[in-house]
């Protein structure tokens, strides 16, 4: 039987083995962006990237211009908040909100490593403060708050900080009458926060209910991957639920389902196209057309 990708290792705060091809690829891109010119000379191989789907090879710079979409097979590479904000906000100009809210190890949770250490490691390894960033800016002159997840921070896991940052983003939207978009990219719950992470589903749903009452649009953009608590709450509660092509989206992870039903999963199972076909998405949008389509939608909501 073929191996299914799962995000368990990422959720545990480690780099996965099965998910290796995609995550390491993504990090190399990140490194290409953040390292200085001197470093680049030392690691020239990091600037060349290979598409995990079709093996097409090109430079990071080239790929960046293509919005990290493979020119040969249209594979949408996993990118983070930095790239999405750059793609969507006018002139890459935006305010980052609520960065002062940080995770802490309230429960003293220890698995193979204490949660507090995992947090320290993630802060050191990445240049982000948690698994979601809130950006407020304009999309073709239309105001929008975007809450965008970062998979590289403990698998984009849903913990108290994600819940609180989204909640405050909602308050910000209520105050300024601004639409909200959440860009989902997460393996699921942050288990080290136990029941507190579960309760974020109810917490955020309650806040979304306030957006409904204020007639403020909320768009959920699902990207690869969006699993567990994400799909069992705000990921599926958009006025519009949309997705990038080929993204894996579901409640239970493919590995768990396979173990339960003891059969191989059909091709395309839990991909965006599968969800569209079964009626759970409004449409699928190519990253290259995302900004224009978003503008259209925001205009239609407005008028």
């Amino acid at each position: 039987m073929k191996q299914e990708e799962d995000f368990d290792a990422n959720l545990a705060g480690e780099d996965g083995t099965e998910a290796e091809s995609k995550t390491s690829w993504f990090k190399r891109i990140k490194k290409g962006i953040t390292t200085s010119t001197a470093d680049k000379k030392e690691t020239p191989e990091g600037l060349w990237t290979k598409c995990p789907e079709c093996n097409y090879i090109c430079t990071v710079t080239e790929l960046r211009e293509l919005l990290f979409v493979c020119p040969k097979c249209n594979h949408h590479h996993r990118i983070g908040s930095e790239e999405y904000f750059d793609i969507l906000f006018d002139k890459n100009y935006f305010d980052i909100l609520f960065e002062n809210i940080r995770s802490k190890d309230f429960l003293g949770f220890t698995d193979l490593k204490p949660y507090s250490l995992r947090l320290q490691d993630s802060w050191k390894k990445t240049d982000i403060t948690d698994s979601i960033r809130i950006g407020s800016g304009k999309v073709n002159a239309l105001p929008l708050v975007i809450a965008c997840m970062d998979f590289e921070f403990i698998g984009g896991s849903l913990g108290s900080v994600m819940g609180e940052r989204i909640s405050r983003a909602v308050d910000h939207c209520l105050e300024h009458k601004t639409p909200l978009m959440i860009i989902c990219k997460s393996g699921g719950a942050r288990m080290m926060e136990s029941a507190f992470s579960l309760m974020q589903l109810a917490k955020v749903s309650g806040k979304l209910s306030q957006l409904t009452d204020a007639c403020i649009p909320y768009i959920s953009l699902l990207t690869d991957p969006s699993f567990g608590g994400i799909s069992a709450s705000f990921g599926m509660l958009g006025d519009l639920n949309i997705a990038e092509p080929g993204a894996l989206i579901g409640f239970a992870g493919p590995r768990i389902i396979k173990e339960t039903i003891k059969k191989d999963l059909p091709a395309g199972f839990q991909r965006s196209e599968f969800l569209l076909e079964h009626g759970f998405l409004d449409f699928i949008v190519d990253r290259k057309e995302m900004k224009e389509k978003l503008t259209k939608v925001l205009t239609l909501f407005k008028n």
Binding site: S160, Q200, G250
Partner: protein, 334 residues
């Protein structure tokens, strides 16, 4: 409730079984010899109660998880039968099918109509299959929501009884939108105009539990657990092995006393000494003693107030630090 001779025992309940065996032996002797040893039997029966108390006083987190899964433990329909009258079960989600893992319907508690909803586990091998081990599919959550909306229409309070190892992780479940079904329920439950009381009566596993678990009051029976993942799955993901479930249970702080201390639930409902499986009637009475005054209290609040309170209550949940970061300039590196 099983007769004493048919009871099943968990490992840590063995000392009770030994007492039972001894009592049984004495009874047989009395039968044969026609000698009166009832004093001695009564003494042993007293010891049984003491043993039950002793054992539950010193349970580990994992043992509490085991107790919540005790094969003799009462399930949703048992509580409904014991607490309510005139229960009429309502079926189906009006869309796909009738999910046997989720049951519900109108009933009366002391003359007042309420909507009772809950996951249902099977009481024997055949029924466990039929009930899918209490793991609902999307249609189960949609049936639950349909019944909640029905209750709302007729202004009847809702009581949900939660007992699930999780929402079913199946192929069809994904096709029919397991995530969406649970998400919709969570969202709609926050907005319900009628009082909602949610009770964890056994296992409270993750989204599968929360899918019928958002209310004005969320409470746990004493020997139950509630958290984001089962200890077994948590062990397999974070410890990369299935063998660390005891540790995972400990670390997850999933017991009722922890959940109350964290402010994630509103109350703990006591169980009979040794656990709900020792006396179904007493377990149901103890739950009813919590439900009656709580229903009365909630009914005095306005629908709008209740909704606000729910949003506020869940809105406070979570822990984080607020650090001072230097005022960030807007990102303007074009």
């Amino acid at each position: 409730m099983p007769e004493n001779k048919n009871r099943q025992f968990l490992d840590f309940e063995r000392p009770i079984k030994e007492l039972f065996d001894e009592i049984e032996k004495l009874k047989q002797i009395a039968e044969k010899t026609k000698l009166d040893n009832s004093n001695y039997i009564a003494q042993l029966e007293g010891q049984v109660l003491e043993k039950r108390r002793e054992i539950t006083a010193a349970l580990t987190s994992w043992q509490k998880v085991q107790l919540s899964r005790h094969p003799d433990r009462p399930y949703t329909l048992k509580y409904i039968q014991k607490i309510t009258s005139n229960f009429i079960e309502l079926h189906g989600d009006r869309n796909v099918k009738d999910d046997k893992a989720m049951v519900g319907g109108f009933a009366q508690i002391e003359g007042e109509t309420v909507m009772m909803i809950g996951q249902q586990k099977g009481i024997n091998t055949k029924m466990r299959q039929l009930r899918n081990f209490g793991m609902a599919n999307p249609e189960g959550y949609r049936k639950a929501l349909r019944l909640m909306k029905l209750a709302e229409k007729f202004n009847k309070p809702i009581i949900t009884l939660i007992d699930t190892p999780g929402a079913y992780p199946g192929l069809e479940a994904e096709e029919r939108g397991q995530g969406e079904a649970i998400a919709r329920n969570i969202y709609e439950m926050i907005r319900l105009k009628v009082p909602v009381i949610c009770v964890i009566i056994g296992e409270g596993a993750s989204g599968g539990a929360l899918g019928i678990g958002v209310g004005d009051r969320v409470v746990m029976l004493q020997n139950t657990w509630y958290t984001v993942i089962s200890p077994e799955s948590c062990s397999s993901i974070l410890w990369r092995s299935w063998d660390q479930k005891e540790k995972a249970a400990e670390q997850l702080r999933l017991t009722s006393d922890n959940m109350l201390r964290f402010g994630l639930i509103d109350a703990i409902v006591p169980e009979p000494i040794g656990g709900a499986h020792w006396d179904y009637t007493e377990a149901a009475d103890l739950l009813k003693q919590y439900l009656m005054p709580t229903l009365k209290e909630l009914k005095q609040q306005s629908p709008e107030y209740r909704k606000q309170q729910r949003i506020e209550k869940f809105g406070k949940m979570g822990f984080w630090d607020e650090v001072t970061v230097q005022q960030q300039q807007p990102n303007n590196n074009i």
